[in-house]
Subunit: 264 residues, 2 copies
């Protein structure tokens, strides 16, 4: 049995039952426990599942499944890349930390990997706030403002806000584009909101899949010098990677990305 076949089988069983045991997989596939464990580790790296003692469970196996409908379009495109990036970002989080998540599809994926964490999370994304409040023990803080349904974002044109008292060690940010000019957004209000959030964080970690490296948009949120880390996928252009590194930006590549539903 090929590696792909096994992993596809694992995902199928997960979709059916929500949870799988290593021992069962051994019995079904005939492979050794070591091989199955390796498969599970790879699948977890891509964000396709979450390992637990004795097996693995579906990432969406929570109770209430109120998935953000507004992400439908952008969710299907590059969903697996974003899952892998989100899983990598979540693995950098430690209990007790204070973090910031901006509104974005990749950060929303990330929020789903934070169910077992116990942190203080500031986010201007309404769906992320809902997700964390309903399905995690994290403390959730939101800025004041109007809730925009379509974008799922909480926006305010004013400066006064309770989040001025928030202090985070790191902000995880999903953006419109990343160019040598810096972090790019297309909407002025969104750019301003993200700049406000950014001012409350020490370090900045960007969650950008490799399609975000084309120059586009027009609002610069912050320069590259503000960026501590970029989490992307192996599709990042070599020139961009070199440029980022030369600017002192740490570049992490989420694993996997090669396994897909080709056999499905």
């Amino acid at each position: 049995m090929l590696e792909r076949e096994r992993q596809q089988l694992i995902l199928n069983r997960l979709k059916e039952r929500g949870i799988v045991r290593v021992a069962d997989l051994v019995a079904v596939t005939g492979a050794s426990v070591a091989t199955l464990r390796r498969d599970l580790a790879k699948l977890e790296d891509t964000g396709a599942l979450r390992r637990v003692h004795g097996g693995a469970e579906s990432v969406a196996s929570g109770q209430s499944e109120l998935t953000a409908p507004t992400f439908g379009a952008s969710q299907t495109t590059n969903a697996e890349l974003k899952q892998a990036i989100a899983a990598k970002a979540a693995s950098l989080c430690e209990d007790g930390a204070s973090i910031i998540l901006n509104a974005g599809s990749t950060t929303w994926f990330m929020a789903q990997h934070l169910r077992a964490h116990r942190m203080q999370v500031l986010t201007n994304s309404f769906p992320i706030a809902q997700e964390l409040v309903a399905n995690s023990a994290n403390r959730v803080v939101v800025p004041g403002g109007e809730i925009y349904r379509e974008a799922g974002i909480i926006l305010s044109p004013f400066d006064e806000d309770a989040i001025q008292h928030f202090a985070a060690s790191v902000m995880f940010m999903s953006c419109y584009a990343l160019t040598p000019m810096g972090v790019i957004e297309s909407d002025p209000l969104v750019a301003r909101a993200e700049a406000k959030l950014l001012s409350r964080a020490e370090r900045l970690v960007l969650l950008v899949d490799s399609t975000k490296f084309e120059a586009r948009g027009n609002m610069v949120v912050c320069p590259l010098s503000r960026v501590s880390t970029v989490i992307t996928d192996p599709g990042i252009p070599r020139a961009m990677e070199d440029h980022l590194r030369s600017q002192g930006v740490e570049v992490l590549k989420a694993a996997g990305a090669r396994l897909d539903l080709s056999a499905a």
Copy 2:
């Protein structure tokens, strides 16, 4: 059976029945009492449930009246009264208006009646914000702060907030009690949050069923002179009604189907 399977099972039973016994879990899962106790301890650590002697109970008992821990049962008894009051309040709303809803069970009922409206709504209740965003065309504004799961309320100890720029014609308020001293809450932070909201509204409409007229609680949110209208049910004591009217407060009685709880 895997640890996660047991925990999922526990949460499912909790969602169905609201309370679980350790002995029952032993019979269902086949695990030992020690293991089940450990599971309950872990789940309590994540905030998924609350342990009680002999088992555990659901932490989210529906839309709870935030400052009434001992009144959990009464909310179902008064559900019809509150529904009638909420419907009456909703009928006072006109499209295009700006209103404020505080966090409370009666205001939550009211939000259900606003699905067809098109207003600007400021609320510090997270469930109400969810309801209006998901099921209405109203514009929704929230204050900044931490989201408290149990109470479903957004609270901030700071003064700075984007809602300082909000202007509403009327605030609909559900409170802990209403006495000749004024509007009463039991929690200082909640009282402060409601006072902040109130400062953004011209008129104040109280949504209080007739059980709220007993003196209790200790934090005065505002005096009776600030109250424009009280919407209650026919169970309101005659003395209280006369006193309110003598203070210039308009008293509306929702056409409740039941009118027997006045002496209870």
